[in-house]
Symmetry: C2
Subunit: 707 residues, 2 copies
């Protein structure tokens, strides 16, 4: 059966436009939910203003930065403008720019929805847990649908206009550059506020978490939105785009090797669109039963989505006559994604040994909690790394025979399709993830609005469901990113060989041999490997030091306010802290710290490439992937573990709130905050950006390197 690839592009565009309509209707639905509490409206407005101010400043900064990068793209990519085709460079610039714009738009839509949904959820909690859940979840799903819709629309438009998958790498590069900085900026913002508020409030003054007396409490809520909603959305947008881009780059090569046809590229869009539709249905299915728990409601909708996608993909494979091996690889990805999620859950669930042990260690003081958290975090990398390794291996072997002449290409394509499969339900995952900060905000708003114990209790239940599913979705995101970057390594090799062919043709003789891969016994590859492995470590360290520095300033400010504002500590009527000062500190600090870490990673990549050429970069990417996955998994899981160990103690175990164990637990949680919400999840993006740059600059590295 032959495929009209353009038909799939048109259908994808249609699906993505339809999804925007759905997102808009969900947004409208959330907006028209009733709200009347004046205090909540007031605080809600402060959160919204804070978030908007930060986002405006952040995007203004990033626009300048992306503008500068855009000039470099125009001049150098894919080939230096004086050597190659200027039109191609212009298209590349356009792709790059669209990537940044689409990412920004998805982030803005998400923030809009979440800063309304938090108020509405708090108010809905007055009527019970079911309507509150519905409001929170639908608010989150606006972000989920917008992100995946934007992915599909962007990718389809680029393909429609250029029909050149290399341009997709440019689009993806734009998206991940923005994600890199947005995630870093948001992550630094949110954790500066969160950990400072906790350290002074909970540890020093013994006042409850998110108490309105705490000057940093609004900044903390703003952080939830700019970090966990906008930052995370940008991150997953980037993963989604990158996985589809990798699959299409490899799929196009396969299609041309197979002699025309476009089934390998078409199936990518077909599955991506199907995943979006399945997720939208999943969103509408999400409902809490009479006695149901929010956790199981969230899980149920994920299972429904997964089941629907499985069925859809079988049907499409049969109807369109796609090769069943591709379907197999996608299903494998989806399955392994679940397994990784379950493994992450083991290390962060308070009913399992790791969290319980870390909590028990807190009785002997903070040092032992921290040692056990770090230890379990390190152990937690084993299962996911095996999972990623096995799924890459099997999907490679499965798809090796797709085009008999090109086993390596087929295999790499199989890995890319496993990533596409894993990310097919990403819309659902983002929805679940964005639900978290919304209900977290709602809880705080309910407290500030004085809605009473019962309502706060409901909000609290919703919040802890958010934390539980978060571990699983994070595992999923890291797993998918892992497969994606492995596929991007394949795409890099494929881009290098394309470039070599062009160079050899132009010269009329063999200037470079085609490369067959990267041999670790080549010392240049090994050199790259070691340097590449160091980059995620340096990158995450710089982000955490950013949080550390800003938090020291913020802690001093919070202490100052408690000392100097009379009646604040006692909670005297009418006395309120200067929230804006803390918002200001977070904003200014995050803007200052968000650029350097990303720039360092990019610069090191370029230096390695220009010094050691494509062999060094092959090793560099490999080292970067391996150490990036290791550190990302370690940090996310250790952070989640400490968070839940603290919650376990707060639930009244081992002495409960106010005990020494509790104080130790809070310290553990505070160390974990930048682990799990600043550094850990940003590493994915760092690895993706570096992979994309390498692919895009492959011609430069090939022709202009020193060795």
């Amino acid at each position: 059966m032959s495929f009209d690839f353009d038909l799939f592009i048109i259908i994808s565009i249609a699906v993505s436009l339809m999804s925007f309509v759905v997102a808009w209707r969900l947004y409208a639905w959330v907006k028209k939910q009733p709200s009347d509490n004046k205090r909540i409206a007031e605080v809600g407005a402060m959160i919204k203003d804070g978030a908007n101010t930060f986002m405006k400043k952040e995007y203004a900064l990033l626009a300048k930065f992306a503008g500068g990068l855009g000039v470099l793209v125009l001049v150098f990519l894919p080939t230096p403008i004086w050597q190659g085709n200027a039109g191609e460079n212009f298209l590349m610039l356009l792709s790059f720019a669209s990537g940044t714009v689409f990412s920004a738009v998805a982030g803005i839509l998400g923030i809009r929805a979440s800063t309304i949904a938090n108020i509405k959820t708090a108010e809905a909690a007055k009527k019970g847990i079911r309507p509150a859940f519905m409001t929170g979840f639908r608010g989150g799903s606006v972000m989920g649908i917008a992100v995946v819709g934007a992915t599909l629309l962007g990718v389809s438009l680029i393909m429609l206009i250029t029909h050149d998958p290399t341009m997709l790498l440019g689009f993806s590069f734009g998206a991940s550059t923005l994600a890199l900085f947005a995630k870093a900026g948001g992550g630094i913002y949110t954790k500066t506020a969160d950990l400072s508020a906790d350290l002074v409030g909970k540890v020093e003054l013994n006042i409850p978490e998110d108490d309105p007396r705490n000057p940093a409490v609004i900044a903390d809520n703003v952080g939830d939105n700019v970090g966990d909603v906008a930052g995370m959305g940008a991150d997953l947008f980037d993963s989604c785009v990158a996985s589809i881009a990798a699959a299409l780059v490899l799929g196009f090569s396969l299609d041309s090797s197979a002699g025309g046809g476009s089934s390998f590229s078409a199936i990518t869009l077909c599955f991506a669109a199907g995943g979006l539709i399945a997720s939208i249905i999943g969103v509408f299915v999400a409902r809490m039963g009479e006695k149901g728990s929010p956790t199981s409601a969230l899980n149920k909708s994920t299972y429904v989505t997964t089941g629907l996608f499985a069925v859809y993909s079988i049907i499409m494979t049969l109807v369109c006559g796609f090769d069943w091996r591709i379907w197999g690889a996608s299903m494998l990805g989806l399955f392994v994604g679940m397994l990784i999620g379950i493994a992450s859950d083991y290390y962060t669930n308070d009913e399992r040994k790791p969290v319980r042990s870390a909590a028990a260690a807190a009785q002997s003081g903070p040092a032992l909690t921290i040692i056990s958290g770090i230890s379990y975090g390190l152990m937690s990398v084993l299962a996911p790394l095996i999972g990623i390794g096995v799924s890459a291996l099997i999907s490679f072997k499965l798809c090796e025979p797709l085009v008999p002449d090109e086993p390596l290409l087929g295999g790499m394509y199989g890995i890319a399709m496993a990533a596409v499969g894993m990310l097919s339900i990403v819309c659902m995952i983002i929805s679940n993830d964005a639900y978290g900060p919304i209900v977290d905000n709602a809880k705080d708003l309910a407290e500030m609005g004085g809605l009473g114990e019962e309502v706060i209790d409901i909000a609290d239940k919703l919040d802890s469901a958010g934390n539980t599913v978060k571990a699983i979705t994070k595992g999923f995101a890291i797993g998918a990113a892992g497969l994606t970057v492995i596929a991007l390594l394949g795409a890099f090799k494929s881009e290098v060989n394309e470039a070599i062919k062009v160079i050899n043709e132009a010269a009329g003789h063999t200037v470079h041999e085609l490369i067959t891969g990267f041999n670790v016994m080549d010392p240049m590859v090994f050199f790259g490997l070691l340097v590449g492995a160091a980059v995620p470590a340096v990158f995450s360290a710089m982000l955490m030091l950013g949080v550390d520095r800003n938090a020291q300033g913020m802690i001093a400010e919070i202490r100052r306010q408690f000392e100097q504002i009379p009646g604040l500590r006692e909670g005297k009527e009418g006395v309120s802290p200067d929230y804006n000062r803390c918002i200001e500190i977070s904003t200014v600090g995050a803007l200052k710290e968000l650029i350097p870490a990303g720039v360092v990673s990019i610069v090191i990549t370029l230096v390695v490439g220009f010094v050691g050429g494509v062999e060094a970069i092959g090793g560099f990417l490999t080292g970067n992937i391996v150490s990036g996955l290791l550190l990302a998994l370690f940090m996310s899981n250790a952070g989640g573990l400490w968070d839940n160990a603290k919650k376990y103690i707060e639930a009244g175990n081992l002495g409960g709130k106010g005990s020494d164990a509790h104080k130790a637990g809070v310290i553990g949680d505070t160390v974990g905050d930048p682990f799990k919400d600043t550094a850990g999840p940003s590493i994915n993006t760092q690895v993706t950006v570096v992979s994309l740059i390498s692919s895009l600059a492959s011609v430069l590295f090939l022709t202009m390197s020193i060795f």
Copy 2:
């Protein structure tokens, strides 16, 4: 010029025997130094007894374990006994057994010297810092000389008897197996005692470090000996042997490719013997000037050794007509070792920004100190990884042309010789390292013996010099291990190809193709890479959890004693704690925890090899090396940084002793303890063991793997 390899063997044996005489004389010198304080003798005896008891129990356990492993060696290595030559397997068993015995003997000699030198140093401090320094340093050098002498003797004997470098891998395997468990056991022992003593004593009760009232203080001193002396000695014995083994395996192949001659193997022994002689001279040069500091005395002797070795190696290269490229690679290794040491020093020196920042962060509580320590620890990996990568690259390129037909072999040999060069001064490094725990013990003994402020002050100065040089020597050790394991990866490939040749010859046709390396685009290699990267994480986590568990028991015991023994806390005359109970807890706990982590690493290696064959193992070793180096550097440097940040505060900065910043600093230091003294330095050994097993089992993996 042709070389009689046997001549070099004989000379090496002579040099090693001579070095034992020197070590013996130094030991005798230390022993005959005067001592008369009864209390010091009493406490010194307790430390000695505790250390001996532990060592006996540990070696008894390890003897059983090694016995079991020996049976497996006999049956399976290098080829299954029913397939191959039983005599060869028996020789392999013998080599393996000698490796374990030599390692144990070196450890026992070291402990003997250090548990006398501590007493003598304390007593010598009464006469001033110069004699005290001399006693401490010479005590440490007994260990240094014994370890390197044992290396040279063992290697030479094996070569003399078998002339088969594969047997050296067996010897090395025996040494590193013992090192793996001895280092783990000693590390768990020492940090259980150390951190428990600090957490209860310094943080909870505000009594000084190493106060005689603290029930864990003797266990802590015992730990210094069994962990930092015996464990560290076993570790460096293992690195030394492994580097020489790798160089000889590759050198033999080169020699045979070059068509007879033995210059490539001979130079290895020649340089190793020269390094030992240079170090012995360096030991005798070590003297403190009238106004000198112990740090500069230690550094001076290191510089003298380095200079002597440089001169020696030039002369020998000229005299024997060795290729200058090999000399170049060795010098490069030595130089880069220094650079890595200096880089480590930057992150752990209290006059530099990282330590100062971490100390400043302590003012905002323990969480921020820990975050900054972790961050700087992560950043600290960049320079050493680049250093290792660059030195591997240059030494490879330098030695590629050694034998024109075998560029890859020559290159890998170059890397091995860089490691040999880096480790040429290892005797000096061990001496400096063993000096640390001796003077640390001496300080405690001076306190317990009531030798007065002035004497304690002298001991304290000696102690802090030990800490300063420790950072540098650790960097050195990790760098050398890094190059060694890269060379072992080369040795693995070379062993695999040897095996393939044998198999093909036996079958009379090509059963397996020779391998050219490990391509990361091969999904089997990538699978191995990911799993291999997880192993050091899991291994170090298991060790730290061992410390964590034991410490919880010990903390409960210390708290119990302070509560139940009347007058203990107040320091009433005649009341002393039950030291033995704490020694018991450390001993039993360490013996229980030392086996599993190593076994897990070994089992995972075997599973990967039997599942994925040599390709998977190639990836596995690569991932293991990369993540092992990353984690080892991170942990060692973060630990050193926290230690010195705490000391910086204790020196009266930022509020000084007893301030909140100090408490936070102590918590940081406590987290760092198992980082830098249990997990971090053990990772080297784990990587080495796994590399050796892979080489030894290459035939099995080749013929019996599932895929």
